[in-house]
Symmetry: D2
Subunit: 366 residues, 4 copies
């Protein structure tokens, strides 16, 4: 694997590296970590890769690796959003599969361009909507598909954070509040889209309509930092998506509550090893990761027995495991890819446009 | 105290009785518990009152009690919503103060009529928005007023229930889903209005605009059973109000999270003895009821030391304590009354109308 | 009801008054609240009783009330431990039934004397081991009796508090750390005995052997403030009882975990409305108060629907309800009485003696 | 790194592999995974190592690796307890450092022998007491060392599990209940010793006396499966250690509560990213992993920002990181080694002997 982005100060680069290598199917061997050669070299040193394989631009990496017998088999794109399309385009042009951090691109137009490029290239393309890698998220999806809560009627998905409540500092914040680098969406594109993907992933239902109310709460901010989006799903189910980055004290509180006519399921990312199933008869079941209560997909994606908590890195690693399977030509139907990426970008675009226009309900069709 | 409503099968009558008498300032001595004489007598027996004082209509009770030396000093109205106005009107006409279950009346027009009657009568009038009686809710209000979280920016108030997810049964459900008895609002009037009141009570801010999306999810239901309302507060703060009665597995999950530019406060009714204060510097404080950390109002409304849980009945009793103070001519500024009732009814009316018309944002001015 | 003790500054007096009156079967009408006439009168005023019925000693109350047509039907003894025997003796001699705060008396010898007096008098006698009044504690007892967890193998009952960790202050602490007034046991008699009773109550099993390690941790303290007691039950089950009053940050953390060969049950007093049942197959059930999942005894002792939390005062009121039934001649088999009181006093005596002697395992037979 | 043990069906082998490689300082390249050649080869395939480096005995591995330029730098011993000494002896004899799963050996006598061997060899030796690798465990240690709770007075450390409550099945259970392979201690040696180490690690205090009550609850079991141990620490602090493998519904519930004269700290392994600090003034602080509230050691051992949960594998990886530092000659004072191993083995031996003899309090000196 070669990494694009993930230079000094980026949180997500090391996360990708650890996740990629956790199951020992993938090894980080090269990277275009930064456009600054010294910084890329420094990152390479931290990652303990061969110094010759720490490149300062994507083209150089693709060329350099193509020239090697042991060159990279795919790239992981972890740079800010506006780099996603050009990086993916270059990799695909070089015949290299792509696993990309979300969102797919900075804009919907770019996403459509990338979809066409992937289709033309016929190469694997995956998107790391990390939270869909949690075993109990997959268990929730499987249980809903199997009818455990009946027909889905109501979806509440929330993603509260508080780290942008004050004057944001550091590399993580900088590009996220800059329209030129993050795209049109701030909070909605950074985390709202995770919540959107999770809602569709777990329910197996497409959002068909939305009403968005995005706000820029912190004075002087150009992009939204607090989002409320009302949803309608294909089966008529009602939904609410809340995402915010100004909710002081919230760390990474992604969670969902999904209700059908026979039951309800609730899950929280910050305590990811417990899933609660409530039934219409008043009974409640606590489903714990790593136990015999899990279905095959969730069981196969737990690395430890019950009570030995797994977390974010292990969830992330489950996506890499899916991608590795895809590279070997095996099916990995739960790994998000182009279809999910396009829907996500359409969601961001629709939410941003509808909120600006105070447009009320708009359709989401892609 | 004389009770209006609260006959056999009603949950709320015994709750009012216990709450009223908890601090031994008030005693239930009479009631028009049901319009059916036998049922009213039966209720009177359950409440252990003098059989002669179990009346079968309000007028009879007011007349009968007026004729006694030890007649009632006020009435508590706990009947279904459409009885609230006539019962209050009769009591006020008889010179009797009123403590009423929420909502104030079945419709906004009725509420305005009642407001005028109360003003004309110059008598105490209170509304049992129960949840504002919890000591830690008052602590939250006091802390926000004192600047603990800075300027309020965001309010999330949720009230999930699940008991109307199936075919509802029993007396509790029957009138709540019938427009003739409940008024125009179903879930929004039954529990959404609690959430609305709590949001204004705790923040000290008025809601000025709202966007409502009310749905009737269970097939065949005439009134809303699932509500999402976006809010704007007078200072520009953003808000979301979620209320539902079809969320399977939720019992009475009222809760709020309020964020300012310096901190955040979270509270849940089902674990009412804990309040969490998060600060911008990343620190979190756990404030527990009955401890020395409480301010004077909350401390004065805790009856047990920390760790000896108080609950719903004690919160309810705090409202009766406030009302008793008012009857004695003492100030009880936190007891909801006409102003809060009018705002609540205006909220219901605006939400119902705006949702039906898919009107987008509407103003709330009263 | 007449109260003995509960004068100004006592926490437990008002608790008894509220609990006694909650179901409107009992009314506080008289009291010997303090041996100081002025203080007893002041207390009577706070309790809003007829000033003529606020007495300054027990004998005066018993005589005064006997002379009235509407005299008291029983006394509630809420004074410090060393008053329990004389007060009960006087009441029984006057033909008045007794409901007493725990522990039964200050010493085991006194308890035996009282047991004989009660037997001779043939009058109702109850002990307010409050925590056995919680609906979910009774549900746990009923479930275990019905075999829900199979044969009980292991009992862990804990009662952590922290309020005596520092230099204790106030009336509550004063007599509890004084051997002359509290008896030989400090923490063991004040709260350890609650844990002991709960263990026997919920399992339906008698403790037959114990090994006690009591310590006086805070410098200068004459009585134990931190207790560990190992237990063996009649069926051979193993047990551990932990009680402490020096665990900083703990408020009133009484809890139990009971394990059998088919399941386990856990409950915490500070969140008393939830009981967890774990089964050998790995499944977990959450049982919530006020819902249709409760058996008849627990259901009959819940006053509110699920999600409307009940707490300490309601649990206490359930004991008064049992006692009222007993006064009417109805069975109330779950109300603790002489038998439970004797066992509790024997437990305290055995634990104190065994710990002082570093005696290892001793038998508990009474 | 070469692995000893960890063949097919072993849970702990893959855990060591992932933990070792997480920070990319270490790579698993060889193994004597099983004494059965076919099984060792199969394991090697699962671990994706060079087939030539999957050996069927330790001697062969040590010889084979010594003959390579890129031979192993250390061994990780993850086999059942009775293999620990011979495996370590062989490695040390070959000049190879050792990182060993706990307990150090099967018996105290073996442990002393190993201690002498390590001293003679002058080679790094580490023990994976995993739970001491959690960032918040280290934070707790650092806070206590810095005086956050004052003088430690009371320690409660618990390790409930339930997986041996029934007829145990599978490879994990088999050797743990067999004295020939597990040593004299069952539950006490398997998990009780984790709790013991954690108690000493976090408090920085040595246990000086203990009173042990070990039981074999499940019929037919030769080794203890339920343990209660009372403790005294060097400063006079009182302690209780509870460990059990028959508590149905408990997964891996290791936790501690530590109280001093100024505060208390609580932590639970199953929710490892939260540490609670209570202070004598009644205030409570919630310390969350990955936030700016952590001291330098804990901060350096968190790989993700707050709210992105880390778990068991990351804690384990922190021990490997410490060991890698030690291999490079850097200090890693918090990695358990010979001293901690000896104390742990002495603890097991003392507990087993004292319990069998019903000996009461015994001293623990080593």
């Amino acid at each position: 694997m070669g990494m694009i982005g993930g230079g000094p100060g980026a949180f997500i680069g090391p996360v990708h590296r650890i996740a990629a290598e956790m199951d020992r199917e993938i090894e980080l061997v090269a990277g275009a970590f930064s456009s600054d050669a010294a910084r890329s070299a420094a990152a390479g040193e931290v990652y303990r890769i061969d110094p010759a394989r720490a490149y300062s631009d994507v083209a150089a990496m693709l060329a350099g690796e193509a020239a090697r017998d042991d060159g990279i088999d795919f790239v992981a794109i972890v740079s800010p959003n506006h780099h996603h399309l050009p990086a993916a385009r270059a990799a695909l042009a070089a015949g290299i599969p792509v696993l990309s951090d979300k969102p797919m691109t900075a804009t919907l137009a770019e996403a459509k361009e990338l979809a066409a490029l992937v289709a033309a290239a016929g190469l694997p393309y995956g998107l790391t909507y990390t939270y869909s890698g949690y075993p109990l998220v997959r268990e929730a999806r499987a249980r809903i598909a199997a009818g455990a809560i009946g027909t889905v009627r109501k979806v509440v998905v929330e993603y509260p954070q508080g780290w942008l409540a004050g004057e944001a500092a550091g590399k993580q914040a900088e590009w996220r509040v800059d329209p030129a680098r993050a795209g049109d969406g701030g909070c909605i594109g950074d985390i709202g889209v995770h919540a959107f993907h999770l809602a569709e992933f777990v329910t197996g239902l497409a959002v068909t309509e939305l009403l968005a109310d995005l706000g820029a709460v912190v004075p002087g901010r150009a992009l939204d930092d607090d989002c409320t989006v009302l949803l309608r799903f294909a089966n008529g189910a009602r939904g609410v998506l809340l995402a915010s980055q100004i909710e002081v004290g919230e760390l990474n509180g992604l969670r969902f509550r999904i209700y059908g006519d026979k039951g309800g399921l609730t899950w929280r990312q910050e305590e990811p090893n417990t899933l609660i199933l409530n039934r219409l008869d008043g009974s409640s079941e606590v489903i714990r990761a790593g136990t015999g209560l899990l279905g095959p997909d969730a069981a196969a994606r737990s690395r430890t027995p019950g009570g030995h908590p797994e977390g974010y890195l292990e969830a992330f690693a489950n996506l890499y495991r899916d991608f590795a399977a895809q590279l070997r030509g095996e099916p990995a139907p739960l790994l998000p890819g182009i279809a999910e990426g396009l829907r996500s970008m359409a969601f961001i675009a629709a939410a941003v446009a509808a909120s600006r226009a105070r447009a009320g309900w708009v359709t989401l069709d892609i």
